[in-house]
């Protein structure tokens, strides 16, 4: 008996390309979420300028009966400048790739370029904040490092600091509901934190940290929101800044140091330049040499950033208490 098998009659084409692309692991881009937006006008020079009036002193001293006017106050303002910078990247794609590859190369490269641009916007904001916002070392934890791991008192301290500075909160509170395991959520600032600290947040649940799934309603929760503590709602991302092995304790053990940005409204402004942001540029092979062999796909954008309310932002830096998976 002769059985025909794939050993002697194999398929002529061995592979079949799945119709859908696999997803690309992409971090939550939280930094741009908390930014105010401003667009510099065309022909507006190199530098965006912000003006913030200062409060006048409240006239708390009575006039008395002298009939003499009090001395005038001199209004003051603060000026904040930020220089525009330009960014871009692209790919040169030979026409043979476009002609012969089975997948839509131009489509998915365009998509990746767009994501790269958005991630660049976020990373620039992240690093700018690390450079420009003042730092509080966490001291509420117990792991013996400086900074320590985050304790509930650290949330309280930084929220109190921003409240004292009259920062504006992003979110109004969520009223408690008659649902098991839930609790009310306070009006809140945002903390931009690392996914690597989520285990530490979980360990604070009994002390007052409320996981996002324990909110009375998740209607106002952001996709990256992990939970809340006191007047802070925590957004996590794998791209949050971390300095690896940047702290060592008295026993010679090292730990990673995380930068957690606690921010109120209008604390950071993301500035683009009119007509120059988010440009996706396709250039046909026609423009590349006498044989017109290569197409180009590129993105370019203009971006500046400024801390526009320095009193409404703090980086609270901490180490981690729990182990990290791999």
């Amino acid at each position: 008996m002769s059985i025909t098998t794939t050993g002697n009659l194999g398929p002529m084409i061995l592979q079949s390309l799945a119709p859908a692309m696999l997803y690309v692991p992409t971090p939550s881009m939280n930094y741009i979420t908390v930014c105010d937006k401003m667009s510099m006008p065309p022909n507006g020079g190199t530098t965006a300028r912000f003006m913030r009036p200062r409060a006048l002193t409240p006239p708390t001293v009575q006039l008395g009966n002298s009939g003499i006017d009090p001395p005038a106050q001199v209004p003051q303002r603060d000026i904040i400048d930020a220089q525009m910078a330009f960014f871009g990247t692209g790919c040169i794609i030979n026409e043979q790739v476009i002609l012969q590859d089975q997948e839509g190369v131009l489509a998915w490269v365009s998509e990746r370029l767009a994501v790269a641009m958005r991630q660049a916007e976020d990373l620039i904001l992240r690093d700018y904040i690390v450079s420009a916002a003042s730092i509080i070392n966490a001291g509420g934890g117990s792991n013996g490092f400086n900074p320590t791991n985050l304790g509930m008192s650290d949330f309280s301290l930084v929220a109190t600091t921003l409240d004292t500075n009259n920062a504006y909160k992003f979110m109004s509170g969520i009223e408690g509901m008659d649902r098991f395991g839930t609790g009310p959520v306070r009006s809140a600032y945002f903390m931009l934190s690392s996914t690597e600290l989520q285990s530490d947040f979980d360990s604070l649940v009994g002390s007052g940290f409320l996981n996002q799934w324990n909110y009375p309603t998740n209607a106002s929760a952001l996709p990256a929101e992990y939970g809340s503590a006191y007047n802070i709602r925590v957004l996590t991302s794998s791209e949050a800044p971390v300095a690896r092995n940047a702290a060592i304790n008295a026993s010679g053990v090292s730990a990673d140091v995380y930068y957690n940005t606690v921010v109120g409204k209008q604390a950071i402004t993301h500035i683009n330049q009119d007509g120059y942001s988010m440009n996706l540029i396709y250039r046909d092979p026609y423009y590349s040499g006498m044989l017109a062999q290569n197409a180009t796909l590129a993105v370019k954008f203009a971006q500046a950033q400024a801390i526009t309310q320095d009193t409404a932002i703090r980086n609270i830096i901490c180490t981690r208490n729990s182990a990290l998976g791999v």
Binding site: A85, S131, N137, G139, N146, N245, A246, I248, N249
Partner: protein, 376 residues
């Protein structure tokens, strides 16, 4: 050569230290001519050098004079030519083992091997525990500008001669070490740690690394209570509750000293003599850029372009231009960059033959990024 390759050339006068060349690309091939060394033909001179990315980072192939006007070939194996992409923060160089930190007005740090640092580089120190309760952990994690005093020694701008600091020796329990911060000033001006405050009718601030402030910079202070001079803090403001109090920089003395127009005569003295016991959770005194009152850009000078870019001042009073266009002085600036570095490494066969040449040597360089590179 097609339209996609990149070529650049230029000239600089060597300082004897590593030279950073900013470009709009990272080259895969670099060569240079040391005109001064070529003209003199003196022993130890390096008139020509070459580097290809396929050789790896930090190396170079050189010609050097093994005697007057007698050329030979050699290599530089470390601190040669390196490309860089300064686009993201919190990147560090190799870990340096620290064997000693002295008690001094400018503490001296000794490393177990050659540190490879240049004055103006920024390091953080870690694990400065002599025992579990003594040492200098008060300054762990603070970025410090180094002044190089030898191949294994450098000083940092911090007064460790105070009573609460104990000398770090080879017997330290905390595995003391240092790391170079690779790109400390990607965005400036920003926040900087304070090492000293001199109170008076004006207030003089010393910082641990470059402040990159200009005259006219508006600044705020964050002084935790144990550091003393809390009256400088922006809030609370008892006269106008809720309104921040700011100062303005009226003089820039050097890279880490500015004078601010705040009369601090009656303020509490600054105290950097923190205890070891305070360390877990100890926060540091900081000065923060808020804004500026300037209306113009950097002024033209004899060697500058017509409209000079913003600059950093990593050490001393030497300005290092950014690759930016002109901006209002004191503006928040993006200082990311890329390019290559000609290092101060020495020839494998002659430790006196320095790749980047001697101070005042005139060097002409070329850099390429090729369309096609075919590794074997």
């Amino acid at each position: 050569m097609t339209e996609y390759s990149r070529q650049a050339k230029g000239r600089f006068v060597s300082t004897g230290g590593a030279k950073v060349i900013n470009l709009p690309f990272q080259p895969d091939y670099v060569e240079f001519i040391n005109y001064t060394a070529s003209a003199s033909g003196s022993d130890n001179g390096v008139p020509f050098a070459y580097w290809d990315s396929l050789m790896g980072q930090g190396v170079a192939v050189i010609n050097r004079f093994q005697a007057a006007n007698q050329l030979t070939t050699d290599t530089v194996d470390t601190l040669g030519i390196t490309t860089f992409s300064a686009g993201q923060l919190l990147q560090f160089g190799p870990t340096l083992t620290v064997t000693d930190v002295s008690k001094a007005a400018a503490a001296s740090v000794t490393t177990s091997g050659a540190h490879g640092l240049t004055s103006g580089d920024v390091v953080i120190l870690e694990g400065l525990f002599e025992t579990s309760t003594t040492g200098m952990p008060q300054i762990n994690g603070i970025p410090f500008t180094v002044t190089v005093t030898g191949s294994t020694t450098f000083t940092i701008p911090w007064n460790t001669s105070q009573s609460n600091y104990t000398t770090i020796s080879g017997a330290a329990t905390g595995t003391p070490r240092a790391k170079k911060v690779l790109y400390p000033y990607l965005y400036f001006p920003g926040q900087t740690f304070i090492s000293a405050i001199t109170t008076g009718t004006t207030t003089t601030i010393d910082t641990t690394d470059a402040h990159n402030f200009v005259v006219g910079q508006e600044v705020a202070f964050r002084i935790p209570s144990q550091w003393g001079t809390v009256q400088l803090n922006s809030l609370p403001n008892t006269l106008t509750p809720g309104s921040p109090v700011y100062g303005y920089v009226i003089a820039v003395t050097d890279y880490n000293t500015v004078v601010v127009n705040i009369d601090s005569s009656a303020y509490t003295a600054f105290n950097s003599n923190q205890t070891v016991a305070s360390v877990p959770g100890l926060s540091y005194a900081q000065i923060v850029a808020v804004g500026d009152v300037n209306t113009g850009g950097v002024q033209i000078s004899s060697t500058s372009v017509l409209y000079p870019p913003p600059y950093t001042m990593p050490i001393g009073t030497t300005r290092v231009n950014t690759i930016n266009g002109p901006a209002i002085q004191g503006a928040f600036v993006n200082n990311t960059s890329q390019g290559f570095v000609i290092g101060s490494g020495v020839a494998e066969g002659d430790a006196s033959a320095i790749l980047v040449g001697a101070a005042e040597d005139v060097i002409y360089w070329r850099a390429y990024l090729h369309d096609m590179s075919i590794p074997s």
